[in-house]
Amino acid sequence: MIAVLAGILLAPLLPGTIQTGKAFAQGRRGTSPIQPYRTLKRLWGKSAVDPEGTGVVYRAAPAVAAAALLAALGTLATGGDALALVGLLALARGAVAAAAWDTGNGFALMGAARDLALAVFAEALLVLALLLIAQPAHSTDLDAMRAATAGWEIWSEPSHWCALLAFALVIVAETGRQPVDNPDTHLELTMIHEGPLLEYAGRDLAYLHWVAAARHWLILTLAALLYLPHADSVATLVVALPVLCVALAAVETAQAKMRILRVPALLGLGALIALAGAAAWPA
């Protein structure tokens, strides 16, 4: 329960920290890490807007997406099944894409179409990365996986390094960061995750902003507790999450956004690395 609450409350800090780190690396003054909270507070004070012709799907989608992420955080906190997370992320994605169809907005549909198309590759990669990290425990139970991947002897296995590389690509794909997506622009040539948000306002938009932040929390927590060296959960998170945020900021600064149609090649490369890792398992 405390873990879920921490996820709900602290998630917006992650994108905020990344933005601050990015601004620092680029020599700008930038915003404070708590800027996302200010945005959420501002949005919370405004009423949601229903464009003409939209229906119940448009209205329910932000709540459904947020509920899916809440359930995912709950699964993570209770040590549930890792593969269930894939379905919950898909539910959030599907709800937002269906809402894009409900508005009929071209930009929203453009973003949703790209998101779902890239998800084909991202989901395969995510499942493979989870499979690799499930091998030491021989289980997809998150608690068992965490226990089995603790300690240093696992780092002598080549397959664990493959898992780490594959999950690094999962991180950029699932959090919508460069080089896969650029959360800072609303340029229709490049946008993916921002597209379906355009019609939303008020608390609906606040939910969707929180969903994006919760994706960061979920994926980076998985990275910290399964893939990186870890011991005690709380201490690991306190150290690893800021480090991961700084790393993402560094990648965003150094790496330009990729052409959208090139992204599957990148994710496919990750899948090949993961398959090589599976083939390299100790017999």
Partner: protein, 640 residues
């Protein structure tokens, strides 16, 4: 008893008067419900009734757990389909054929000897063919039926070989794979399926996609499993290829029922991949659970595919079209049908907390177990299959978000919305181009239809409720299914999927959490304001022509996988000076298998025709040569 009931059903169903048709369909529904109850009793009780399977030809009937499960599944889809048919069917002949089809399906499941099985097998092939010819007496119907009968009969030879040889040998296993695989729509023997399923009347489509392909899988399970390891690898490969191929080709369809038919290939692929995993996994517990995953997905697919096909029939009846580019706003004009279809779309896309998620999770978990089991071959094959099935699930999400968005959501679209004049000729237009250049004036746009009549609505809602029930509590079914595996195992009964010592998925808790959280978040959403304007489209007036088409939504993915799809695009000038853009996506199976086969057959026929000169003297010479040859053989003693 079974045959007598069937004959009665056929006799009643054959009546032409509407009330007699309805009475006949009602009697059929009751009969199917009774048969389904028998199946449930056999599955739950665990005891086989009637004869055991024998290799002989003397007729024998009986039920065991496996056929009982499929019979119960038949009833679960057939009863709603029949109730639906009461309001849908107008032709007594089609009603009678429906009865014959159901008789064939149930007879096949109850058959306990070779001859009975083969008789019902052929009847099962012929009945839908006849129904298509009655319902669609045009060139499209005839060519679909020809492809269907030709391919399933050629493949069906495999069924005969497999049954007459009996299980055990490699030849029989390959023959069973080809024979039953053709009927199940496995790649590359699938190409009849997307032609035949969409043109049949809706109750037939639902039963063909929901049950007939599953009955073929029943045959495969019965006559090819448990098999050697190579069979497991073949099943895994063919399953993943079917899943990915079916999902990809579903995306490029423009006709709702055709899309659903391709998605059937995809789901059969998932089932067969799970069966392959069950063959390969050495641990008996996980082998049985993989088998149970296959059967659970079989049941789930039967439910949601029947729902979607019946819903598509209701939409076609109301709007006069199945073209994705002309439909729209069904959720508003037909709220009940729309809601049921929305549940079906979410279920088939594998979204929690519906049934597609439960069985896909179990299938993924089984494939992960295959990979984790050890050994390089199993690890690589399991991991690759796992990635393939995960990608398939994401493709299904893309596909059915598109279907739900295009067909159910938004405003009702008229004929001008995106236009698809070329779709009828096998091509497909790209939204904007056709709307401006083609200027298609379709006569049958999606006018404001009313919701489906009571019987059809009841059938759809029942199946939608079943999607929810099977999604929340699949654990009630799982122990029964695990006991049907070649090596049965005991799984404790629970509501969610609780796997002994191997993790679990508490589906009821997950569903409850999702529903409660969504409700609370909507409540917390506060006041809403209706905007006085429609969505922003850069200041232009909003017209239906600006709406996105199905082709537009799948464009990013189609560009990514263009190298696989290999579309042929043409830009032509019409006689009236309008530009027309068409895009046709061929099939690699057609290019690599069917076309060479047809070419070879025609070349062989040309060679054979040289013998046929039409000259009497030549034929006399043939006879003489034959007689001389036989005499020579007798002389040498070769003919005794």
């Amino acid at each position: 008893m079974l045959a007598g009931a069937g004959a009665l059903i056929v006799a009643l169903g054959g009546a032409t008067a509407v009330w007699r048709l309805r009475l006949g369909l009602g009697v059929q529904a009751v009969g199917m419900a009774v048969l389904g109850a028998a199946g449930v009793i056999v599955v739950v009780g665990g005891d086989a009734v009637g004869a055991a399977w024998r290799a002989g030809v003397s007729p024998a009937l009986g039920l065991d757990g496996l056929s009982g499960f499929f019979l119960a599944l038949l009833a679960v889809t057939a009863v709603p389909a029949l109730i639906y048919a009461r309001d849908y069917l107008r032709s007594g002949v089609v009603g009678a054929l429906l009865a014959a089809f159901l008789l064939a399906l149930s007879g096949l499941l109850a058959a306990r000897d070779v001859s009975t099985f083969l008789v019902f097998w052929e009847l099962m092939t012929v009945a839908p063919a006849a129904a298509i010819l009655v319902a669609r007496p045009d060139a499209v119907g005839r060519s679909s039926v020809f492809a269907y009968v030709a391919i399933t009969h050629l493949g069906g030879a495999g069924v005969w070989i497999a049954l007459l040889l009996g299980p055990g040998s490699a030849v029989a296993a390959v023959a069973a794979l080809v024979g039953f695989g053709t009927k199940a729509g496995l790649v590359p023997l699938h190409s009849w399926l997307p032609r035949a399923h969409p043109v049949a009347p809706a109750p037939f489509s639902a039963l063909m996609s929901g049950l007939m392909v599953k009955v073929a899988l029943y045959g495969l399970i019965r006559f090819a499993l448990p098999g050697p390891a190579w069979l497991g690898f073949v099943l895994l490969g063919v399953g993943v290829a079917s899943a990915l191929g079916g999902a990809l080709w579903a995306l490029v369809q423009h006709d709702l029922k055709r899309l659903l038919a391709y998605s059937t290939i995809e789901n059969v692929g998932v089932i067969v991949a799970a069966l392959g995993a069950s063959v390969l996994i050495a641990d008996p517990r996980w082998s049985a659970l993989a088998f149970a995953a296959a059967l659970l997905h079989t049941a789930n697919h039967a439910v949601f595919k029947a729902l979607l096909f019946l819903g598509a029939g209701a939409i076609e009846r109301a709007t006069g079209t199945l073209s994705l580019d002309r439909l729209g706003g069904i959720a508003r004009t037909m709220p009940w049908t729309g809601a049921a279809m929305a549940v079906g779309c979410a279920a088939i896309a594998g979204l929690p907390p519906l049934n597609g998620f439960a069985s896909e999770w179990l299938a993924l978990r089984a494939l992960a177990e295959l990979a984790l089991e050890g050994g390089v071959a199993h690890a690589a094959a399991g991991a690759a299959a796992l990635a393939g099935i995960a990608a398939t699930a994401a493709l299904a999400l893309l596909c059915f978000v598109m279907v739900a968005g295009r067909v159910l959501l938004g405003a009702p679209r008229g004929a001008g919305a995106g236009g698809d004049g070329a779709a009828a000729s096998g091509g497909a237009t790209m939204g904007g181009h056709a709307a401006t250049a083609g200027g298609v004036a379709a006569s049958r746009g999606a006018a404001a239809p009313g919701d489906a009549p009571g019987g059809m609505r009841a059938a759809l809602l029942f199946l939608a409720a079943l999607c929810v029930a099977l999604g929340v509590a699949p654990g009630l079914l799982l122990p029964r299914l695990a006991e049907l595996a070649p090596v049965p195992v005991h799984v404790p009964t629970a509501l969610g999927l609780d796997l002994p010592g191997a993790g679990s998925l508490p589906l009821p808790a997950l569903a409850l959490a999702l529903v409660v959280a969504t409700a609370l978040l909507i409540r917390a959403g506060g006041s809403r304001r209706a905007a006085p304007a429609p969505t922003w489209v850069c200041g232009q007036p909003v017209t239906p022509a600006l709406g996105w088409t199905a082709a537009g939504f799948t464009k990013p993915l189609r560009l990514i996988v263009e190298v696989v799809l290999r579309p042929r695009r043409t830009l032509a000038l019409d006689a009236d000076g309008a530009l027309r853009y068409t895009r046709v996506v061929g099939s690699p199976a057609g290019r690599l298998l069917y076309r060479p086969a047809v070419r070879g057959a025609l070349r062989g026929a040309a060679v054979a025709r040289r013998l046929q000169t039409g000259n009497v003297r030549t034929y006399a010479a043939y006879l003489l040569a034959l007689v001389l040859g036989l005499l020579a053989l007798v002389q040498t003693g070769a003919l005794g």
